[in-house]
Each structure stands twice: as structure tokens, then as C-alpha cells.
């Protein structure tokens, strides 16, 4: 999979590496680029009408004005995009139920999705000539709202829920062993309307319109075959999945994902994220090099949090708010030393602090790759924002990785006082596709 190791995010304040001010420069660049793009495209049309050969901006991806935020991510490769791809800023996630009883219809839809997804990740229409090419009396095959927008690092990632393997489609024998819905955790307040699903699509991009367009057009292709079960928008990444990215903050104002497994840690990825051939013998072999996705919609009681004093906030997380350094230590990326004492002789990091409970050192070495997004879904009718974290994690084995971690957190995390898990789902995300392959054949064989 092609990565963009040099992908810095000029829209975010970040340590100045000693050069042009990235904040102002970035903000202007993005707007200016759109103007340039439109002009170049128009020139292409004119030249074409005059009979000359003219390449548009799209055939010159290496033009000096190119903004890495607008670039394209490779669709094909060993693993699916959207897992170790440097986390984009926006997300649209949708879980679908399969409504057809005909496996052929499901397979055909997955094949059609592959084609549309590959086109859209390149910045193209969902179908050739999709916006106006069908002429005045046909319904456009592409909804059009992303027509003038660059690829914006769009990634489309697909996953299958345990319910897809229940025998409706002859897929029972392909279900990976132990792949089940999550057990109940202490304190869960799950809304059935935000849980489960046969198929999931995760679309991430640096432009929200590009992500929504991708999901919307795939849903259209699926009408009659699948039906939307639930959907979630996310507006700000809460993890970095590459060392090239600064650590973002969650809605509690704390840096999140400091110790995340990152794209550059290939050994840790094989150990904790990518399903290995030996994990999925027999009929489940299609999942080799795939990864399991855990989605949890975590409502944050931000109003209560916001009236909590700083010391309590830092006690809850176990890190300082400004730098993200472990309490009692210095520097965000300093390995956490849980033996550090505070001035009064007690542990600097509380025994029930979030960072202590979630740390691999206290979980028998278990790690996961987090890729969540902040959300606000309007208000709750009680004068509060319905805000929180749409937690997404990728791992190699849910039962051995996510479940013990969440058990430990659910049992005593100080953060529980301020959060509530309101949605839950797991999906098996197949490996990436080689040239000429598609999702339908990959699953049904």
C-alpha cells in the first residue's frame, strides 16, 4: 500500500520545524488550490474543444501546487487502505444490514462497490460519466457533490459483521473462529439502533464532503441489497497512525493516541494488527492479512467534564493536559514509568488512571491500533451537546486484545464517570485487493 510518509497536516498547529509558518501557510494553500484546480480544468475543456490534446490537472499529480492533504491514497495493496493510512481529519462510517436473500445479489453488489470505490479514491465519479453523462432523462449514476473536489486522501475500508456469516448467504464456513459480537461490559448503555450490522463502510478524507459522497454513492448502489442500519459522522481525528502526524486531542482536551501502533512499526503491526495466516485456518483463510475493526460510540458528558478542575482531569487521564507527558515525567513520548512517585509518596499516576489501565504493560503486552474520531450529533434535548468519541480500533484478535483491555477499563477507569458507551459493533475487514480482484470474489471465492 502506498503511504505518504511526508504527509504533514498544515491545517493544525504543530511544532515549527524551522521554516515557513505552517499555520497560516496551510490554511491559505487549501483555498488557493481549489481556485487553481478549477481554472486548470476549465482550460482543459477549452483546449479539448479546439482539437488539441490537453492534459488536465488530474493527469499531473506531481504539479508543484499539489497539497498532500488533497492527494490520493492507493486503493489496492496487501492491506486495505484506511487502517495504517495517516488518519485523515473526517470520517463517515455506516453499518448496513443485508436485505436480500440472494447471495448472488450480494456478491454482485460487492463487485460493483469495488469498482466505484476505486474510482472515487482516485477522485473520479462513482461511474463513468456519472454526473451528467447519462443525458437528460437518465438518473445520474453519481450524485455529483464531490465532482470538483480533489481525492482528499479518501480511503474506503470495508468490513463484515459476525451476523453476515449466520448461514443466510452460504458463508457459515468462512466465519473466522471466535469472531462474535462483543460481550457486555460493565456500565454499557448500548442503544440497539447503534449496534451491529452485516457490513460496514468506513470512509475517511480530509474533506467531509468527499467522505459523505463516497458513502452515499455506495449506499445507492446497494439499494435493494443492503439497508442502512446506523451511521456516524466524525469531524476530527483522535489518533495519529503515523509518526509524521502530530498527536491530536479528544473532546476532553487531552492528547489521544500518543502510544498508538503506527504505520512505521511494521513488526508491531504484524504482531497486533494484521491477521496472520495461522490465525485463520480453513474456510476463514480469506481474512489473512486483514484486520478486525472494533467500533464503540462513546458519549462524553463534556459539560460535567468542563466544570471539573484541572488536577482532577489530569488525575483521570494520568497525563498532563498541555504536553501529554505522563504525570511525574517529562515529554509526551517518554515511556510511561508507573513506579514514579508523587511528592506525597504515592504513585504519580493513579492506580485507576486511564493511561495505567490501558497500557500494554498492565495488559500482558496487548496493543491495538486506534483510529477514532470526535463527534457531535446535535443535542440531547436536556441542554447538552450529544458529543463524544467514535472509537475505532483495529486488531488481530478481538478476544485477546480489545476484550481484556475494555474489561480492565470498564471495571475501574476513572474516566467512566464522564463517559458512556452507547454503540458497539465489530467487523472483519478483509485484506487489500490485488490488481483485477474485487470484494465479491474475495469473500465468496
Amino acid at each position: 500500500m502506498t503511504q505518504h510518509p511526508d504527509l504533514a497536516d498544515p491545517l493544525r498547529p504543530q511544532p515549527d520545524p524551522g521554516g515557513a509558518g505552517p499555520v497560516a501557510g496551510g490554511a491559505v494553500t487549501r483555498r488557493r488550490l481549489l481556485g487553481v484546480s478549477a481554472g486548470a480544468a476549465a482550460a482543459g475543456v477549452l483546449a479539448g474543444a479546439g482539437g488539441a490534446y490537453a492534459a488536465t490537472r488530474d493527469s499531473q499529480p506531481s504539479s508543484p501546487a499539489a497539497d498532500p492533504l488533497d492527494a490520493e491514497v492507493a486503493f489496492r495493496g496487501e492491506h486495505q487502505p484506511g487502517i495504517t493510512t495517516p488518519a485523515q481529519d473526517r470520517m463517515h462510517f455506516v453499518a448496513l444490514d443485508v436485505v436480500t436473500k440472494n447471495p448472488d445479489e450480494l456478491k454482485a453488489m460487492l463487485t460493483a462497490w469495488t469498482k466505484a470505490a476505486e474510482r472515487m479514491m482516485l477522485g473520479g465519479e462513482a461511474a463513468p460519466g456519472g454526473v451528467v453523462g447519462g443525458g437528460p432523462y437518465n438518473v445520474p449514476e453519481d450524485t455529483g457533490e464531490a465532482y470538483d473536489l480533489p481525492p482528499s486522501n479518501l480511503t474506503i475500508t470495508i468490513g463484515y459483521g459476525p451476523s453476515l456469516f449466520d448461514g443466510r448467504f452460504g458463508l457459515k464456513g468462512k466465519k473466522p473462529q471466535g469472531f462474535e459480537d462483543l460481550p457486555a461490559f460493565k456500565g454499557d448503555d448500548l442503544d440497539p439502533a447503534r449496534c451491529g450490522g452485516d457490513i460496514a463502510i468506513q470512509a475517511c478524507a480530509n474533506d467531509p464532503q468527499v467522505a459523505v459522497h463516497a458513502v452515499r454513492n455506495l449506499i445507492r448502489i446497494g439499494f435493494g441489497t443492503v439497508s442502512v442500519r446506523w451511521s456516524q459522522l466524525g469531524f476530527g481525528r483522535t489518533s495519529s497512525t503515523s509518526r509524521s502526524q502530530p498527536t491530536p486531542r479528544n473532546l476532553f482536551g487531552f492528547k489521544d493516541g500518543t502510544a498508538n501502533v503506527k504505520a512505521e512499526d511494521t513488526e508491531r503491526l504484524d504482531q497486533h494488527v494484521w491477521v496472520q495466516p495461522g490465525d485463520v485456518p480453513g474456510g476463514a483463510a480469506w481474512m489473512s492479512s486483514g484486520s478486525y475493526l472494533v467500533a464503540r460510540r462513546i458519549r462524553m458528558h463534556i459539560e460535567v467534564w468542563d466544570r471539573t478542575h484541572l488536577q482532577e482531569q489530569e488525575l483521570v487521564f494520568g497525563r498532563d493536559k498541555l504536553e501529554g507527558a505522563p504525570l511525574g515525567q517529562k515529554g509526551e513520548f517518554t515511556p510511561v514509568d508507573f513506579a514514579t512517585k508523587s511528592a506525597d509518596g504515592g504513585p504519580a499516576i493513579d492506580m485507576a488512571a486511564h493511561v495505567r489501565l490501558a497500557h500494554p504493560e498492565n495488559l500482558g503486552g496487548v496493543e491495538i491500533l486506534r483510529r477514532g474520531y470526535n463527534f457531535t450529533d446535535g443535542s440531547d434535548g436536556l441542554g447538552h451537546l450529544d458529543a463524544g468519541l467514535f472509537f475505532i480500533a483495529f486488531c488481530r484478535d478481538i478476544t485477546r486484545q480489545f476484550v481484556p483491555m475494555q474489561r480492565a477499563l470498564a471495571a475501574k477507569d476513572r474516566l467512566n464517570e464522564y463517559i458512556e458507551h452507547t454503540g458497539s459493533a465489530v467487523f472483519a475487514c478483509p485484506p487489500g485487493l490485488a490488481e483485477g480482484k474485487d470484494w465479491g470474489a474475495q469473500l465468496f471465492g
Binding site: A41, G44, V45, A47, G48, A49, G50, G51, A52, Y53, A54, A55, T56, R57, D58, S59, V99, A112, E118, R119, L122, G123, G124, P128, G129, V131, V132, G133, G134, G135, P136, Y137, N138, V139, E141, R220, F223, G224, T225, S227, E435
Partner: protein, 377 residues
Amino acid sequence: MNRTTTAALALGTALLAAGCGGGASDAGAGGKGPITVQATDSECKVGRAEAPAGTVEFTVQNTGSKINEFYVYGEGDRVMGEVENISPGLVRKFHVQLDEPGTYETACKPGMKGKGIRAAFTVTGSSAAPKSDDAKLTAATASYQRYVGSQADALLTETTAFVTAVKAGDVAKAKTLYPEARKYWERIEPVAESFGDLDPKIDGREDVVDEGMKFTGYHRLEKDLWVDGLQKDSNDIADTLLADVKNVVAQAKSVKLNPLQLANGSKALLDEMATGKITGEEERYSHTDLYDFAANFEGSKSAVAALRPVLQERDPELVKAIDAKVAALDALITKHQKGDGYKLYTDLSKAEVKELSTALDATSEQVAKIAGVVAQA
């Protein structure tokens, strides 16, 4: 997928016309042969930039390193034909039907994206368009107009009975007759509501009528019968309703429709279901929404049935797809029958409503394609 099918069908029709002495027979064999296109990552060399009207054959060779596509565009970027997913090194042949003389554009799209590398392409000679299948389309509109006429007659009969019961103060009987009369209105709704200001008077809802306009018609009487009890002016409302319905019926029976209106009507009825009925807002006092739902659907099916011979000829795959989705929705509606009518909408669970909505979406996606097929000349 649909477009490929229809393009192939259009080609078939053209060849047929050519065999009968049409002007397209020499398009491919006029000594010039197929047009070669050399596509690279940065160039799109089209061997010849003009062809006589009719079927034009292109041979596209991808000598670049990216997956490529080749398009022929008509006015307004309408895709006349395309060949997708040409891997590096591959040669692909394709035929495109360019029946009308004029200026077109060719385009290669290295990497399958953007507006592509464009060039002008001229089609010469006189129009090679096959004659549209007038007879079948005329039969379709005639058949649907007969349907509209018969429903309009029944609408008048049933509304007369309903109005009579209201004026006799027989609330129980009026409540039974109400959904029956509404049924005929809903079946021909796109036609019935096309006559200017009659629709809001007959079918307006309390929150939808224009400012300053009185709340009248079926829904005002619905409210009287189910919520407020008959009012002092209920009789006047009933009289006006009957007069307005008579007016609509007369117009509906003499309306002249074209095939495209039929196609759009079949979709409009499904849209009515998706926006007004599935929400339970249309019959908010009587909760007889399922009667309307079923009636809209019957009306849509009638329009599709009238067009069926044309669709069957031009796009049999679409007919198959529509049949499958219509059958699924039919089965769901039948599930909610109760006696001679339907369950109250408020008796449906949220899951049952979602099931209806999902089946309706599936049907609408297919029915929406009819207009494009009907419009093919």
C-alpha cells in the same frame, strides 16, 4: 451495467433499421474502417477525427502505464459510449452509436479520472437515427389514459357516497367510506394534482395550505370525523369537495399524456410514498395511511405495466429487476391487510415501517431508470 445493456440494444435497433434500408449501413464499411486510438499516460491520439453518422467503431490501445478509459461525449458531456478499465498493453474494440451529425468529443482518461484528454470529433452526413417505436409508445399512453379514466370515474362515485354520508351525519359510515374514496385519488395522484389550485383545496393538509387559505377537502373532513366531530360548516366543506372532485375528474379524463410523463408518474407515485406516506403524516387523524400507500403503489404499477412492452423490448434486464423488487414490496403490503382493508398505520412497529421503507427504496431505484429507457429515440 444498465447503460451497457441499453447501448447494446440501441445498436441492435440501428442494425435492424439499416437492414430495412436505413442510412447507417455504410458507416463501418465505408472504406475507412475502425478508428484507432493510441492512449498513453499523457496523450490520446485519435486516428481520425470524423466519421459518417451511424455506428462508429474504435480500437483503443493502451500503451501507457496507467489503467485507461476512452469516452465519446455528446453535448453537455453526455456519454455516447465508453470503454472502461483498459489495462496497460491491452487493445479494446468498441462500437458507439453516433446517429446525429454534429460535434462530439473524444477523451482518454489515464488513471480513470478527471475530465480526460479531450479532442473534437465530427460526425458528418445526415441523421441515421432509427425511427422511434411510435406504435408501442402510443399504445402505452392510450392504455394508461384508460386506466386514469376508470379510476377517475370510481373516484367520483366513491367521493359522492362519502360526501352523502357526511351530510347525513352518519359518522361511522363516513369513516368507512373515507379511505375507499381516497384510494382512487391516490392511485392517479400525479395526474390529479396537476390541475393547478385544485390539489391544495382537495388534498391539502392543515399545515401545508397556503397562508390565508382555508383548510378544506378530504383532510378537513378527516379531522372532523376522527377528532373534532362534525362542525357547522362540515356540509359546506363536503359540497365544495364534491364540486372540486367533479372538476378534477372531468380534466383527468381528457388529459393527454406523453410516454415520458408516464415514466415520471410511475416514479412520482413512489416518491409520494417515500415522503408523505411512510412518515404517517398524510392521514394523521385516521391513520389509514396504508390504504394510500397501497393505492400509490398500484398507480405506479399501472404506469409501468402500460410501458412494459416498450421496456421489455429495450431493456429486459430492467423489467426483470423491477418485477423482483415490486414483488417483494407487494408481499410486505399484503402482510398488513386486515379484512377488506389495511391495519392502522399506528399499529405497525418501527421495524415493520423500516422494512416497507427498505423495499420501497429498492423499487424506486429501479423504477427511476424507466424514463431514461423511454427517452431513447
